[in-house]
């Protein structure tokens, strides 16, 4: 009895090792290029599937929407930034909870030191110090929020826009921790609610949903409007002041590309390697 069980276990063990090890051993012996990893094929295909940015020097393919913000124009036109923010926030039913802690923002203003902490602000001129900069989601080429999201609720679409699928968001806020620009806001409270009889959303736009409690939201570069052939609301709100330019960064003849080629621009926190798509003329 003992003997036969011993035999059985031996055979079972050897066959288990053989089934697992044989293909790998075979790969090694045949000198297959992918043999070392054992999963070579899927790995090799991965960069293409993710649409990873082309290596340095290669021409990028596909669209990548981007924006240039001329801070001097905003400084010269007081109230213009507020107009842009208003246009954005009313259209997207962005709630106003009335306090900084719960604040939801798609587009907002920041002083130089906060917007560009990597740039020296030692002995900067007075204008730059007193200026507020319009900031929003940078729609990074390498978005850290997308890497952090466990449900793929946030993702980069084929036009290079970092999108949110609110249906999928579970409110874990990993993306908020990952975003170095503070571009994401969490709904701590129900945006449909009200306080002292004042609703958080002053006037509902019936063409766009609200969010629910426990969902993260941010700027979408007005992806829906782009599909309709319109410009983002903030860019439209600047009118012909030339304060904002929008277009395809990969198209050398687009508005943004022309501005970027002719003017000196800076990005927010470039050293982090997120390659933001929003540029600033200071």
């Amino acid at each position: 009895m003992d003997n036969s069980r011993r035999k059985f276990l031996k055979i079972a063990g050897i066959s288990a090792v053989a089934t697992v090890g044989a293909p790998a051993a075979l790969n090694l012996l045949t000198g297959n290029a992918h043999a070392s990893s054992g999963h070579g094929a899927p790995q090799a295909a991965a960069p293409a599937a993710h649409g990873a940015p082309a290596a340095h020097g290669e021409a990028p393919t596909g669209k990548r929407y981007g924006m240039v913000i001329d801070a001097r124009k905003f400084h010269a036109n007081p109230g213009l930034a507020e107009k842009c923010i208003e246009a954005c926030h009313t259209n997207y039913n962005v709630p106003d909870f009335g306090n900084k802690k719960d604040e939801i923002k798609w587009l907002w203003k920041m002083p130089f030191a906060n917007a560009f902490p990597e740039h020296s602000h030692y002995k900067k001129d007075h204008t730059v110090h007193s200026m507020d900069f319009l900031v929003t989601c940078n729609h990074c080429d390498k978005p850290p929020c997308v890497r952090a999201c466990p449900t793929k609720a946030t993702f980069k679409n084929k036009d290079g826009i970092v999108m949110m699928d609110f249906h999928r968001c579970i409110g874990c806020r990993f993306c908020m921790a990952a975003c170095p620009y503070g571009a994401r806001s969490f709904n701590w409270r129900d945006p449909r609610g009200s306080e002292n009889g004042v609703p958080f959303i002053k006037k509902l736009n019936h063409d766009f949903p609200t969010r629910m409690r426990g969902v993260v939201e941010k700027c979408s570069f007005c992806a829906l409007r782009l599909a309709e052939g319109k410009l983002p609301l903030c860019v439209e709100a600047t009118g012909d002041t030339g304060a904002m330019f929008f277009g395809d960064l990969n198209d050398p003849h687009s508005d943004v590309s022309k501005v970027l080629q002719s003017k000196f621009t800076i990005q927010r926190k470039p050293a982090l390697g997120t390659t933001p798509s929003v540029f600033y003329i200071i």
């Binding site: 039913n93 993702f155 679409n157 084929k158 036009d159 999108m163 699928d165 609110f166 249906h167 509902l204 019936h206 063409d207 766009f208 949903p209 609200t210 969010r211 629910m212 969902v215 992806a223 829906l224 599909a227």
Partner: protein
């Protein structure tokens, strides 16, 4: 068996009570909910039977196509173009959530969370105000 006199009648009463709901409704046909159909429109994006069974699947597909793949092209129904959208598509014709969606969902006791974010058509608000 001890306490036969109590247990047996007790059991009969218990089973009777449990089965009362079944006997009470035996032979009756459940009344299907009556939905308000949009006026002036003859067909939906899919045949009625398919919409009844799997409108939720279609909505999910639309959502993924629109948000993830950017396929926002409109759907053509009876010569008219409609957005692939709940708020701007479906509710364009079905102008009341209360008299369309809710009637069936309450009958079937399903409570989807669409309207936690999506905004119900204005007609519902108008109806509520009028009451």
């Amino acid at each position: 068996m001890y306490d036969k006199g109590k247990i047996v009648p007790g059991l009969i009463i218990f089973v009777g009570l449990m089965l009362f709901a079944i006997f009470n409704n035996a032979g009756q046909k459940p009344q299907p909910p009556k939905l308000e159909k949009p006026e002036g429109y003859k067909e939906c994006v899919l045949p009625v039977e398919e919409m009844k069974q799997s409108h939720m699947v279609l909505l999910n597909e639309w959502r993924d196509e629109v948000i993830r793949e950017g396929k926002r092209e409109q759907v053509k129904v009876g010569g008219k173009m409609f957005d692939k959208s709940l708020q701007r598509g479906c509710m364009h014709c079905h102008t009341s959530k209360k008299k369309f969606c809710d009637v069936c969902h309450e009958f079937a006791s399903v409570y989807p969370y669409c309207w936690d974010c999506h905004i119900a058509p204005q007609r519902d608000m108008a109806d509520q105000e009028a009451k």
